[in-house]
């Protein structure tokens, strides 16, 4: 058994080596381009793919901070919100500053505002190390959200800002349909993926890696650690700002409730579940954390699950038998066609939390780890490191 499994893994690895990564990416992109033309994928599906793409962009941005430079940022939503509100405040006729600029005029501003926020936050806290950064970024994310809620003279508070402009393109006109939005986010995700992976392989990426591995050694080697950490932080923040602009424009309405801590946790979780520092990991992580919960709500999923009513009946018979014997009533399963929505609704976060723990304990390098990160995560077992305390 084990022998075959190893052989299969070996063969798969060989295949991986035979097909160069560029070709694999091209095949992947071709599949993505074809998606909107498959009749099965209705608007709701395309919308789901759009959100997966949006979180890929966000994940790639956070990946620079967490995966490349090893800085734990728990307030990434702050930059996402900065981008979204830049577009909302400058672009909507309903905001306090009624400039009504076009989408394209504001997009660079949104990215810039994100980056500036990153630098402003990074300057005081980056000289500190690790865990302090986690709590300060978390606090910063909350501060930004509370500002959005309570400075209603500028942000309309919880009432939010609507009528946010859509991007217009020559020939196509305004981006309106779900398919157009899907292609738009696809192009952006590819651009961001190329930029971040280029950065990783460039000198700056090696500096980040050195800092991540051992900051003291990196500093001793002459790397200006604070400067490089700040660069990682602001790059990630700029991409977060970009994501925010796209989100605000797509939904057309923003309010502070959309920028809760949950967004930060979702993004960091998808980076980690996918595999820190890895671009394919971000794609897989987004699909699992953002795609699947939405797919569970779709009609087709309900129709598909509806075929399993026999299974439900069988289980319920079994449960009824137990119920009649035991003092506790275990209840019964709902109809099979609502299983998906039931999980997506109430149980999603329970599964999500357990999944995070399980992945960290069983596969701490994530599902599709970057090769370098994997080596780092493959830690020796406890017994090999700490001497057994049996001397007592």
């Amino acid at each position: 058994m084990r022998e075959t499994a190893r052989r299969v893994r070996q063969r798969r690895a060989e295949f991986g080596r035979r097909v160069p990564s560029n070709v694999r990416w091209l095949i992947f992109c071709a599949v993505l381009l074809a998606i909107p033309f498959i009749p099965f994928f209705t608007d709701a599906w395309i919308q789901m793919f759009f959100f997966v793409g949006l979180y890929v962009v966000l994940g790639l941005g956070l990946n620079v901070v967490v995966g490349f430079a090893g800085l734990l940022d728990l307030g990434y939503v702050a930059f996402f919100a900065a981008g979204a509100y830049t577009l909302g405040i400058l672009g909507s006729p309903g905001s306090a500053i009624d400039l009504q600029l076009s989408f394209w005029a504001i997009l660079p501003l949104g990215i810039l505002v994100g980056a500036v926020f990153g630098i402003l936050l990074g300057l005081p806290v980056l000289p500190l190390r690790g865990d302090y950064l986690a709590i300060v970024t978390l606090g910063f994310g909350e501060i930004i959200r509370l500002f959005l809620v309570n400075r209603d003279d500028l942000t309309n508070g919880s009432q939010g800002i609507s009528a946010i402009p859509h991007p217009a393109l020559p020939l196509i006109g305004h981006i309106e349909s779900f398919t157009e939005w899907y292609f738009f986010i696809l192009v952006l995700a590819v651009v961001v993926a190329v930029v971040t992976s280029r950065l990783r392989d460039a000198r700056i990426g090696r500096a980040w890696e050195a800092i991540r591995e051992d900051e003291d050694v990196a500093a001793a080697m002459g790397i200006d650690t604070v400067k490089y950490k700040l660069m990682a932080f602001s790059t990630g923040a700029a991409i977060g700002g970009l994501g925010g602009v796209i989100y605000a424009s797509h939904i057309g309405f923003i309010n502070p409730a959309a920028f809760s801590l949950q967004v930060s946790i979702d993004v960091i979780a998808l980076v980690i579940i996918g595999g820190m520092g890895s671009t394919p990991g971000v794609v897989v992580g987004s699909f699992i954390l953002v795609g699947i919960p939405r797919i569970l709500l779709l009609k087709e999923t309900g129709d598909f699950l509806g075929r399993f009513n026999w299974l439900r009946d069988a289980i319920n018979h079994g449960v009824d038998a137990i119920n009649s014997l035991s003092p506790w009533n275990l209840g019964s399963l709902p109809p099979a066609n609502v299983w998906g929505t039931e999980i997506a609704d109430d149980t999603r976060f329970i599964i999500f939390g357990a999944l995070l723990v399980a992945i960290m304990v069983l596969r701490p390098s994530g599902l599709l780890p970057s090769r370098r990160r994997q080596m780092e995560f493959e830690h020796p077992t406890e017994a090999e490191v700490s001497p057994k305390a049996t001397l007592a």
Binding site: P93, S162, L297
Partner: protein, 411 residues
């Protein structure tokens, strides 16, 4: 790989974006239509054909999971109750229920799923945040939506200026509840000064503004600064101390029962005399149950006419028989029932039958719904040009908690 340096790459990217920006053309507004001084946007009205034997689909967008299931599910139940035993010229009615999670993002996603099912009209969304995010989609599809519960100003006064022709509501705007509450507080409760405590969400901050404006306009004085709290807060001690210091005649609470319960307990521990007045968010049996004796004497209001008419009694009996829940345990159920009734009645008037095939012109359906006058479960309903319910003469009912029960009190 050659190193081109970090800065140059970033500028390259920014430069490319700026280039795209220059290429892109600006686009003007395309609003049109309107009536009664209200300007409408362009709705994509079409007509929908229903094959013989097929059913007519109506959407419902409501939070049916999580914390808000307690509010969302009864609204769905009530709407579905209105269709029982009814059809559209021989065609069955089919409900397309989607969970909108009460959020902007969820409202937009639910709208997409509802609209692609080719519904002819829709009920909801329940929450104002979801309404504002979903309105453009319904307008584009030309599908009329009736919200039974969105009380926010923004739902009918959109930021873009042009009103959504496809949005209507059977409930009443905060703009109506606030002033009635302010008048009642001043005239009936004799409050010259009021202290405001509010939930920082859309509901609480909207009501805060409506009450403050009206109370000050009527000559009342807001003492201290309005104090906000985040949902799920439990520590109101510091606010209570401020109230003790400001010595108001009345505390106005714009929020929900979950926070009102610990608030009123902490308030009463320090102050037994100050009057407590809150909006519909607090009127829930959980409040009287949780706060017990401390809730005694609290005043509450609902943005609905008194539920006493014949329509309400019929509805209430049927609702209790169907759901085994009390008819007044959850708000906006009668409004939801009425919304469904209005849609079904209008459909029966507008749908044209040719050999078992039904054709429904969505523009005509919208016109018919807008013309409706109904003496329904939630009182008289009539829509103005903006989509507001303008039917009720006194669309706010007041209650005082006496002996652990909500007792209606004259305005």
């Amino acid at each position: 790989m050659r190193d081109r340096g970090y800065g140059s790459k970033l500028f390259l990217a920014l430069g490319a974006l700026a280039g795209i920006a220059l290429l892109a053309a600006a686009c003007g507004d395309d609003d049109s239509g309107g009536s009664g001084g209200v300007k409408y946007g362009t709705a994509g009205f079409t007509s929908i054909t229903i094959d013989s034997g097929a059913s007519v689909k109506i959407g419902i967008s409501s939070p049916t999971s999580g914390d808000l299931k307690a509010i969302g599910q009864p609204i769905v139940d009530a709407a579905q109750l209105a269709a029982e035993g009814k059809d559209i010229k021989g065609h069955k009615i089919e409900w397309v229920v989607k969970d909108d999670l009460c959020s902007a993002d969820g409202g937009a996603a639910a709208a997409t799923q509802i609209l692609q099912e080719k519904v002819v009209a829709s009920i909801g969304p329940v929450c104002s945040g979801a309404v504002v995010a979903a309105e453009p989609q319904y307008e584009k599809a030309g599908v009329t939506q009736i919200s039974p519960s969105s009380t926010a100003h923004k739902s009918t006064y959109p930021d873009r200026g042009a009103v959504f022709q496809t949005f209507l509501r059977t409930t009443y705007s905060d703009d109506i509840q606030g002033p009635v509450q302010a008048t009642f507080a001043k005239d009936k409760l004799g409050a010259k000064t009021a202290y405001i405590v509010y939930d920082t969400d859309a509901y609480g901050s909207g009501l805060r503004d409506a009450f403050r404006t009206a109370f000050e306009k009527g000559g009342g004085k807001i003492v201290g600064s309005p104090e906000g709290y985040e949902k799920k807060a439990t520590d109101f001690k510091s606010i209570v101390t401020n109230i003790q210091n400001a010595k108001p005649d009345l505390v106005y609470f714009a929020g929900f029962f979950a926070e009102a319960t610990p608030f009123i307990k902490q308030l009463r521990a320090a102050n037994k005399d100050v009057k407590f007045f809150a909006g519909d968010g607090v009127k829930n049996d959980e409040f009287t149950k949780g706060a017990g004796a401390d809730a005694e004497g609290a005043y509450l209001s609902l943005p609905s006419p008194a539920y006493t008419g014949a329509g309400y009694l019929t509805f209430g009996t049927a609702y209790e028989a169907k759901t085994k829940a009390k008819r007044d345990a959850s708000p906006f159920v009668a409004e939801s029932y009425d919304a469904a009734t209005i849609i079904i009645n209008a459909l029966n008037k507008v749908a044209t039958d040719s050999g078992g095939k039904l054709t429904i012109d969505l523009k005509k359906l919208n016109d018919e719904i807008r013309k409706t006058t109904l003496d329904g479960a939630s009182g008289k309903i009539k829509f103005d040009a903006r989509g507001e319910n303008a039917g009720g003469a006194t669309p706010v009912t007041l209650f005082k908690i006496t002996g652990g029960k909500y007792v209606e009190t004259p305005r």
